[in-house]
């Protein structure tokens, strides 16, 4: 009898929890933004000649092979056309940087090498060269599963990003989770809400007809929430990137993706 009663109560508790926090207890199945595309857009992503992301990769290779102030180029350490990059390692970003004693995104790492290893004038966050390098290098891990470490030194940053994800922003007063967990699959006017996954970044946006990296996309989100945005290299966006990427751990990298 006792067990039956306990069972009934725990069941009721679960129902109650679900109504209060519809998204938290059980993690939904991971779905790439790709699954939300029209067939035409899917074809565009899969065709190297139609997908504008590949132009960005070509530009990335050019920058990759350009000699820095110290006469070295990226291929000095990473091989011809980046052949020494290991997909597993690329798929782990953002990760903890032992020299800096802080987490770094793939962009941070590229800027670090550009500045410290090639002795160049630092790349600005909006620089197309940085976007091109990131696209080219992330593409080296195409098909590899995202695998961000959320334990040890990374844990507090991951937690901060998670907290941010559940914080409401702007005059629209919404948080990320409401659109990308609670109402995934529903229509926002003519736009189907995806899980807001990051496995395709940097990606080509059909709406603005532009390649964007994650912080650039996040700034657009903040704009539509009528919220004051954050700097692209702010700790807030860096922590959020850790949470977002880790949230998609297991999804295959699709860079350069096509999205709306």
């Amino acid at each position: 009898m006792i067990t039956l009663r306990a069972f009934r109560y725990s069941f009721l508790n679960l129902v109650f929890l679900f109504t209060l926090f519809p998204s938290t207890p059980l993690r939904a199945e991971l779905i790439s933004g790709y699954e939300f595309l029209s067939n035409q857009a899917k074809d565009m992503q899969n065709d190297d000649f139609q997908n504008p992301g590949y132009l960005m990769i070509e530009k990335g290779l050019e920058v990759y092979n350009t000699r820095g102030e110290n006469e070295k180029s990226c291929n000095h350490c990473h091989g011809n056309n980046g052949e020494k990059f290991t997909p597993k390692s690329i798929a782990q970003f953002p990760k903890f940087h032992n020299l800096l004693q802080a987490p770094v995104t793939l962009r941070d790492q590229i800027q670090f090498c550009w500045d410290k290893r090639l002795d160049n004038f630092p790349l600005l966050y909006d620089d197309t060269d940085l976007l091109a390098l990131e696209t080219m290098i992330r593409n080296k891990a195409y098909g590899e599963k995202v695998n961000v470490d959320t334990s040890g030194e990374m844990q507090p940053y991951y937690e901060a990003g998670k907290k941010f994800y559940f914080t409401r922003f702007g005059q629209m007063d919404m948080n990320c989770s409401q659109c990308h967990d609670v109402y995934t699959g529903r229509m926002l006017r003519g736009q189907k809400l995806s899980q807001g996954q990051t496995n395709g970044f940097p990606l080509f946006r059909l709406e603005s007809q532009k390649m964007v990296n994650l912080p650039q996309r996040l700034r657009e989100c903040f704009h539509s929430l009528r919220a004051q945005t954050f700097e692209q290299d702010s700790n807030e966006f860096r922590n959020l990137e850790i949470y977002l990427n880790a949230r998609g751990n297991g999804l295959k990298i699709e860079t350069p993706a096509i999205r709306y």
Binding site: L20, M187, R189, A227
Partner: protein, 161 residues
Amino acid sequence: MIFKENILITLVIFMVLSLFKNSYAAEDMTNYLMTGDSINTPLDGLTGKPERGQALFRNQNKGNCLACHQLSILKDAFHGTIGPSLDQVSQRLTEAQIRLRITDMKQVNPYSIMPGFYRSPKKINRISPLYENSTILTSQEVEDIVSYLMSLKPNSFAEQQ
């Protein structure tokens, strides 16, 4: 004499104080009285116009209600599916209940995704400088939309379909 002066000074003080009081009220323009899950009196005592309400309801920069709701008499190409259909909403809810839900849904359901269209800007986190100290809709615009939803009678669906 002293008596008179005192009255004068008190008057001046009152005038100054009431000035402050007014400017405070003007700054927090979202003053309204909530009773249960309703706002019984029209915001700022204003009267809504259903025709204006319909335009605001569809306008993407104003109510943008169709981003989340469906309303079958409107033939706009896309209706969202995040919130419930608002067909016959005036049969389910009173005018006063609808007024609170548009004004600030989070007073009814703190987890709601629905924006508070007349929620105090002081309760908003990191509002963009472009929208500082403003609400999505004015009190007049809220009343317009309330009157629009109230004007939709059950048989108006049958007639127009």
